[in-house]
């Protein structure tokens, strides 16, 4: 137990993202945490006396200096970088600015303030969905700068982090690559896929998919914070299931599209707001992108409580309840609030 570390003052970005909100809830309960400094443009939806909010725009040039000075002033020892998106968004250039430039500023600030611990919320989609992927992708799999723009942006972020790890070995960097997070409250792109009445799919492709339950994701994040272990970890749920099994579980009508026409159809539907699935996500419905969670199990000591199937099931069940008016309390509405509210999500303050 010599690995256990106590961080009293923590810095954090991306307070309104889905995972970070859940993490904030847990941090508010943890007695070892005294102060949480939040750097964001919107104040967090979770309230606690521990939280100190600093309005910082990560896309502006002053961000580095502002964050660094606050971190130095308050003796912050650990930092959670959570302002990374869970999938493609409608504002592409803003998406790139927040992820890529935001990471640049945060790394600058951490280097200046000499923070000892950095945790980054990444995702397994950095590996990209490609027919040449192995069935289980290890953490040391080489990231390729290819595919849709949200993957490229994330690869860029990971490259920056790699560079940072090389040049600043005194900072313990933990990169958590989460599988798509599903749970009663999730509104990310994979959850939206199972929410709409008609589920578009690619004719003849049925990849294996993998999810992680939101509770497991939060637990992994807290374990990473309290243990002094650095490295890259895939945080994934137990087991896998074919995508079509998921569709049949949700009980929605699958509509197959020819793979050649898929991109056109998906982008047309996205532009006209018929569905919330951009064409960039299509390869993830065609090819494998499954990560191996063994390293997290052996080194980090994290084992998922829920299997991929259970995570999906909990999401589908909560969704059915929501449709008939039983609102499942959710502290967060994710990245697209308008969409989440239209689906019956209610924010509980």
């Amino acid at each position: 137990m010599e690995n256990i570390q106590i961080h009293e003052r923590i810095g954090l970005t991306g307070a309104s993202s889905f995972l970070t909100t859940l993490v904030l809830k847990r941090l508010a309960e943890l007695s070892t945490v005294k102060e949480v400094h939040i750097f964001d443009i919107h104040s967090p939806s979770v309230a606690s006396s521990k939280f100190i909010f600093h309005r910082v725009d990560l896309t502006k040039d002053e961000a580095s200096a502002e964050i660094a000075s606050t971190l130095l002033e308050n003796n912050v020892t650990a930092f959670i970088h959570g302002s990374l998106f869970s999938g493609p968004t409608r504002r592409k250039s803003y998406h790139h600015e927040v992820e890529s430039i935001g990471t640049f500023h945060i790394l600058n600030a951490i280097a200046e303030a000499q923070i000892k611990k950095l945790i980054v919320h990444s995702a397994t989609f950095v590996y990209g969905a490609h027919p040449k992927n192995p069935n289980f992708i290890h953490e040391n799999y080489e990231l390729k700068f290819q595919g849709p723009s949200f993957v490229k942006t994330r690869v860029d972020v990971e490259k920056q982090l790699e560079d940072f790890i090389l040049n600043y070995p005194e900072c313990a960097v933990t990169i958590l690559r989460f599988a798509p997070i599903l749970g009663p409250n999730s509104t990310n792109i994979r959850a939206r896929y199972f929410m709409s009445g008609i589920v578009p799919k690619v004719l003849g492709y049925d990849p294996l998919v993998q999810f992680i339950h939101e509770d497991d994701a939060v637990r992994a994040q807290i374990i990473a914070l309290t243990n002094n272990i650095k490295g890259v970890f895939n945080i994934v749920g137990r087991g896998i299931l074919p995508l079509s099994t998921g569709v049949h579980m949700s009980g929605k009508i699958p509509v197959p599209f020819f793979s050649a026409l898929c991109k056109t159809f998906f982008s047309a539907g996205y532009a006209t707001r018929i569905w919330e699935l951009p064409s960039e996500i299509v390869p993830f419905f065609q090819f494998l992108c499954v990560a191996d969670g063994k390293k997290a199990e052996t080194e980090l000591g994290f084992t998922a409580k829920y299997s991929s199937r259970q995570a999906l099931k909990s999401m589908i069940e909560a969704n059915r309840l929501r449709q008939i008016g039983f609102s499942v309390p959710s502290s967060t509405l994710g990245e697209d609030e308008a969409y989440a509210t239209s689906q019956g999500f209610q924010r509980i303050y």
Binding site: P131, K132, N133, P134, N135, F136, H138, V202, L203, G204, Y205, D206, P207, L208, G239, I240, L241, P242, S244, T245, H248, M249, G251, I253, S259, F287, L288, S307, R309
Partner: protein, 375 residues
């Protein structure tokens, strides 16, 4: 004789009823033992029957003995397995009973969920789907290609095994038939996993179909993980070069890669079993490769056979050649020290040896073959 042993076993169970765990273990062990013994006797008799070596009994008498044995076997299977019938027939009945436009969607989802397993294997293998397609594959195995398998006992009854074979025939028909052979004739009925070329995963249907059926994308990582999970795995070191063989090059093994399969064995210490397939090289007699138009379409080449582009999709049917699969004795890798996989000379020499062994077996068996279609 056999009934009395079965009764004894049953009595034993009744007395050892105190711990459930113990009991179920015992049942499992006894079941395995009985099945092993039965299949051994059965196979022995079958061999004697086909060779007609046994002079003390007539063919009819032997036939009746085999019939009796099969009856006993079924009885034992029935007593020791839980009531697990074919999942499809009752599902199909249920689908049509009480069907109306209002529950159509629910019935559809329930029916589709019944055709697949709760959770697939980490590599995508679905046992229920396997059961679903096995009638068709049985037809191919027994009636269409009339596969004869020799040396099935060379495959170990447990633990990993790397099978290496000669490749041909466009789609992995050869791997599928070997899988059927092991499932039908091996005494432990093991499930073989096979490596599928990358390019199949680019096409719709084929990739996911192969995946549910036990195929895994060909890569070192995947093969190693499968071997570490104690699966028998077949690899085709010829790869796409083997699939793209012209008819005039049939049974001439193409280059054997860079010895990746030897390195795999050295790393995982699993035995290597060479396999020679006779017959699959003639199912798609490719006389030429068309490249210029298929380049434009983004394909490496289009095969041209006697039938293929001319008869349309009908021409893509494989021809009914007579197959035989020869499984050779395993090569042991447990004696090599750590780091042996880094020895280039060793890897190269072992790879050459395996290739020559397969090639020699093929030549040897082709010597005795009179006809492509009737063996």
């Amino acid at each position: 004789m056999s009934t009395s042993t079965a009764h004894k076993e049953k009595n034993k169970h009744l007395s050892a009823n105190d711990s459930l765990q113990n009991f179920s273990n015992q049942v499992f062990n006894i079941r395995r033992m009985l099945i092993e013994q039965f299949s051994r006797i059965e196979k022995d008799l079958q061999n004697k029957f086909t060779d007609n070596q046994e002079k003390f009994a007539t063919k009819e008498e032997l036939q009746s003995v085999i019939g009796k044995m099969q009856e006993f076997r079924q009885e034992i299977e029935k007593t020791f397995t839980t009531s697990e019938s074919n999942p499809l027939e009752p599902a199909a009945d249920e689908f049509f009973t009480g069907l109306n436009p209002f529950n159509l969607r629910r019935k559809y989802h329930e029916f589709s969920l019944r055709l697949r397993s709760e959770e697939v294997d980490p590599f995508g293998y679905d046992p229920i789907f396997d059961k679903f397609v096995s009638p068709l594959l049985n037809f191919f195995y027994i009636k269409y290609w009339r596969v004869e398998t020799y040396g099935i006992s060379n495959i170990p009854s447990e633990g990993p095994a790397l099978l290496v074979g000669n490749h041909s025939g466009g789609l992995p028909y050869d791997a599928t038939m070997l899988k059927m052979a092991i499932q039908r004739e091996h005494h432990m009925h093991r499930d073989l996993r096979f490596m599928v070329e990358d390019f199949l995963f680019h096409f719709p249907f084929l990739g996911s179909l192969m995946n549910r059926f036990g195929g895994v994308r060909a890569s070192q990582d995947n093969a190693q993980q499968l071997l570490e999970n104690n699966h028998p795995v077949i690899v085709f070191p010829e790869g796409v070069k083997g699939l793209g063989k012209l008819y005039r090059d049939k049974y001439h093994l193409a280059r054997f890669g860079r010895g990746g399969f030897i390195r795999l064995c050295l790393r995982t210490r699993s035995p290597l079993i060479p396999v020679a397939f006779i017959g699959p090289e003639e199912i798609h007699p490719m006389i030429a490769k068309e490249t210029s138009i298929s380049r434009i379409l983004g394909l490496p080449y289009t095969p041209i056979t006697w039938t293929f582009p001319w008869l349309g999709p009908l021409g893509a049917l494989p021809l009914p050649s007579k197959w035989s699969i020869h499984i050779l004795p395993p090569i042991d890798f447990t004696n090599f020290g750590p780091g042996a996989e880094k020895d280039r000379v060793l890897v190269y020499k072992m790879s050459r040896m395996v290739k020559e062994q397969i090639q020699d077996t093929i030549v040897d068996k082709l010597k005795n073959r009179r006809s492509i279609w009737f063996g």
